[in-house]
């Protein structure tokens, strides 16, 4: 990280980092079962990778005083080994991917 230059923060120029990316997750009995292959692998776009195990799961319920944020996170291990973090947004019922 660059050292603070002392410039005042201008909120209109802020770009949040690590925004959630919408993903379509295949579920089985309400639990994630398969996730799409990352966009980087263009040639395999659209294919899915099965989830081998759910390593960890947790929920957050925050900012109820403005736009409530209610999410259920899953850290999943894919069939070929890597870990990914996905969450189900309880408000919209949609799935997202986001490193935690």
């Amino acid at each position: 990280m660059v050292e603070d230059s002392g410039t005042a923060l201008r909120p209109h120029q802020l770009r949040p980092l690590n925004l959630p990316r919408a993903v379509s997750v295949e579920t089985a009995r309400g639990r994630p079962a398969a996730v799409p292959i990352p966009m980087a692998l263009i040639d395999k776009h659209g294919e899915r990778i099965a989830i081998a195990a759910i390593e960890e799961e947790w929920s957050i319920d925050d900012e109820w005083w403005r736009d409530r944020v209610q999410r259920h996170y899953f850290r999943v291990r894919l069939e070929h080994g890597p870990l990914r973090t996905i969450f189900l947004d309880d408000e919209s019922g949609r799935w997202f991917e986001q490193s935690y």
């Binding site: 230059s5 410039t7 120029q13 802020l14 949040p16 944020v69």
Partner: protein, 395 residues
Amino acid sequence: MPIAALIIPHFALRMSLLDQPELDGLPLVLTSPPNSRTVVNDCTPEATLRGVRPGMLLREVTALCPEAIFIEPNPVREAMAFDEILRSLETFSPSIEAGPPGCCYVDLHGLQRHDISPEAGAVRLLKLIPAVLRPRAGIAPGKFTALCAARKAHAGTTLLIAPDVVRLFLADLPVAWLPIDPKTITRMERLGLRTMGDVAALPSTAMQARFGKEGRRAWEFCNGQDDLTVTPIQRPQSVIEAITLPAPSTSREMLLLGITQLVRRAFGRPELRHRNVRQAQLHVLIEENRSWEKSLSFREPAGAERIVEIIRHRLQDLELQGAAERIVLHLIGLVNETTRQQLLPFLAPKRTAPIRQAIRQLEQRYGNSPLYRVVEIEPWSRIPERRYALISYDP
């Protein structure tokens, strides 16, 4: 015949014969490494005949066998020579497994078209090893039986064990040859199980009940049930360069000069064009059959200049035990050349003008500046996207 085992008994001693073949047939004694208790580590059959045994004190050997020739161990040279042997065997078959120094296995599957018989194949294999090392080979359906056959074979010959006589062949061999825990072997011997035939005659359940998993394994080996496979050597992509110094030298500067020359030569090779390496191994052969080696792992893949710089730094306190004769450099872990974002010197607060100008030009061209810096917003937040953000860089 699927597997051949090749062995060179008394490997460390035989290595010295490569340089001094006139010592062949004399009682040779391998001493312990310098700075340790001076005992016999190994000895040739000629020395054994005169009563020399491993573990004996050297002064006892001098009294017992005054004509004994003492050889100091040289692990670097042994490892290099063994690797050379393995590489020459790989011209015979790609499926070669390295065992301890002086022992290897060759998978003979699919080689029938090259040789009329397995024995002919083994003869060809043995020819790849210098005869002065007295290699011997064993061929059998399994690795363990092949190794036992090689141990029973005479120097320069092959012992072939057909599948239907494996049990018969193993029956007379001592249990001490089994590849299991020595403590289990001692327990077996105490119970009167001295040969593999004794073990094979027992029910497998009895062996398992008495000695556990090891007992079961021993029973299987003794009955010729050997499912061990040959695991070919995995060679990481590497580059080897060697140089013989014009005259043996103890000078550190001379050594560094030689190493610099080797690094430049290695990076001049096509395999290393636009590539960096992760690890370097240095082997220095010193006078009087001694050696020195050092392995250097780099934090980041390094190019020629960086490697020389690191080696210079790491060898600044080096004191060799004698004059260096030959240097071998082994570069391992070849990766594509990587670049690293350096801190821009003009980012210093005192010199903001150039960066301001660059930002102005970028804004004119793209409408806004694509330069940002990361700022902490709420690093404690449970919501990940609230923790950090990018803000336009404005010096």
